[in-house]
């Protein structure tokens, strides 16, 4: 009996150990991929045309959804906070509170979620389709580095576009909150704006933009890495895309906590 238990526990530790080794090795490979991609950002050829195409795809084509989500997020936030502030007769604080929440947290996070769902998934699907149909191999066969051609433009475009979308989200979110504050809670326009200026500091905007840059890097790296490592035909493309989106969202949330912790502590 004791030998049975010993064998079982040995097996358990073996399986556990193997999983840990696999996990560490995968993470190491991912980090190497990130490092190689970053090196290619600074190497010729510089693909400005492809970067512009990706900016148009990730940025311009996401604009409508970012504007609508920004407006409704600000409006809902205004509604929720307005009810609470009304108890303390401090509805005027709505603008400041919404502005603070949007700049520091909501805007970068929501933009990352929206863009991961819309553009990140499309990036993974496109690259993984190219991968399973040998288009990536063809690229390599023509002595064109796939990291330089596929990953770098998406990374650079994401780093440029995420902060811009975040700023737009903040602006539209504040408008959404303003509409609610003025129409439902009779907040004075001047007071609403005054509290935003009073509460939202340049540091808040800076911290929010730092987050959006970090999220952009996470989304682009995971999308491209998943795409370039997809295997197994149409099913593989589906699996790679689903896994990529789930990983992006989890990593964005985890890094959000870490960055917020660092920003709050220092």
């Amino acid at each position: 009996m004791s030998s049975y238990i010993r064998n079982k526990s040995t097996l358990l530790f073996s399986v556990l150990g193997l999983r840990i080794i696999k996990g560490v090795s995968r993470f190491g490979a991912f980090l190497l991929f990130c490092w190689e991609t970053v090196k290619h950002v600074f190497r010729r050829p510089y693909r400005f045309e492809l970067i512009a195409q990706q900016i148009e795809f990730i940025g311009a084509q996401s604009l409508n959804i970012v504007i609508m989500t920004g407006f409704f997020t600000g409006a809902v936030f205004g509604l929720q906070l307005g009810g609470i502030f009304k108890i303390f007769s401090s509805e005027a604080m709505l603008g400041g509170a919404t502005g603070k929440a949007l700049t520091r947290e909501l805007a970068p996070l929501m933009v990352a979620f929206l863009t991961a769902g819309r553009s990140g998934s499309a990036m993974t699907a496109e690259i993984s389709t190219m991968n399973v149909t040998e288009q990536v191999d063809a690229m390599e066969a023509m002595a064109v580095e796939p990291l330089s051609y596929l990953a770098v433009p998406r990374l650079v475009a994401s780093v440029i576009v995420f902060p811009l979308l975040t700023i737009i989200f903040i602006f539209i979110g504040v408008i959404g909150s303003y509409v609610i504050a003025v129409s439902l809670f009779d907040v004075d326009v001047g007071l609403f704006l005054d509290k935003i200026v009073w509460l939202v500091e340049p540091k808040d905007i800076r911290d929010g933009l730092i987050k959006s840059v970090i999220f952009s890097v996470i989304v682009a790296f995971i999308a491209c890495h998943s795409g370039l490592h997809a295997t197994g035909g149409a099913k593989g493309v589906g699996i790679a895309t689903t896994n990529a989106v789930v990983t992006m969202l989890l990593m964005v949330l985890a890094s959000d906590f870490l960055v917020t912790y660092l920003q709050v502590r220092w």
């Binding site: 496109e126 040998e134 191999d137 063809a138 390599e140 066969a141 023509m142 002595a143 064109v144 580095e145």
Partner: protein, 249 residues
């Protein structure tokens, strides 16, 4: 020209190339034959440096390519043109953009000359009028010919064909085989390597044939060596019989 010296390639527990040694001569059309799963495509990917051997070495023009770093491999691949099994055209690019792609990437000539070269290679494969079409508007035969045009655009020293006639009607197959011969006839320095199941094409077109079985060379020689071979595996493959020593997995 190209030497495989005791090359082994494994994927997990599966050994695809098993201590494989072979020689591909310069300036000739070499067919690599074998049934599905014998490692023909893996062999071609090793030659291009798209895969690294688990053991052994691959010498091309006297250089061990398994020692190349990524930068060295990119420079090395410029001497190749490759026609993939399913053409591997870029979906998002038009025919013209596909063919001009390697020329633009390695930009060694003015844009006007690049377009002239595109016209020239599309003419060569018999498709001069489809420059503005996209891959999803082409038949499989047209895709392969565009893939061939793209591979030829850079005037490679070594052409690799991965099952160029698979899934095509006999007329288009015949045309592709003729193209392979014409391309080589026009450039005596060009080494062509064709991965194929097409025995008729191999016997008609090849100057050298290598047959793989169980990850090793079953027989290598000129087409007549295969016609007159008494090797049971070679005879079974050429006769297309299910009964025989060849294992089907």
């Amino acid at each position: 020209m190209i030497y495989f010296e005791h090359v082994t390639k494994t994927f997990g527990k599966k050994t695809v190339l098993d201590d494989l040694s072979l020689h591909i001569p310069k300036g000739k059309i070499t067919f690599i034959l074998g049934k599905s799963g014998e490692g023909k495509s893996v062999t071609i990917k090793h030659i291009m440096g798209l895969m690294k051997p688990t053991a052994g070495k691959i010498m091309v023009d006297g250089e061990d390519i398994s020692l190349f770093d990524q930068h060295g491999l990119m420079a090395y691949r410029k001497k190749f043109g490759m026609l993939f099994q399913h053409a591997a055209l870029f979906d998002s690019l038009s025919v013209c953009e596909n063919v001009i792609f390697p020329l633009k990437e390695h930009g060694t000539m003015p844009l006007v000359e690049m377009h002239e070269r595109v016209d020239e290679v599309l003419e060569m494969v018999g498709l001069p009028e489809i420059k503005q079409k996209f891959p999803n508007q082409l038949s499989i035969g047209e895709k392969k010919r565009v893939g061939l045009a793209r591979a030829l655009a850079m005037a490679p020293k070594i052409m690799l064909y991965d099952e160029p006639t698979t899934g095509m009607d006999p007329l288009v197959s015949e045309m592709i085989d003729e193209l392979i011969t014409e391309v080589n006839a026009g450039n005596p320095e060009l080494t062509s390597i064709v991965i194929s199941h097409d025995l008729k094409a191999a016997l008609a077109t090849a100057e050298n044939i290598i047959m793989l079985y169980k990850g090793k060379v079953a027989l290598t020689g000129i087409p007549d060596d295969f016609r007159h071979s008494h090797d049971a595996v070679v005879r079974q493959f050429f006769s297309g019989r299910v009964e025989g020593p060849m294992e089907f997995l």
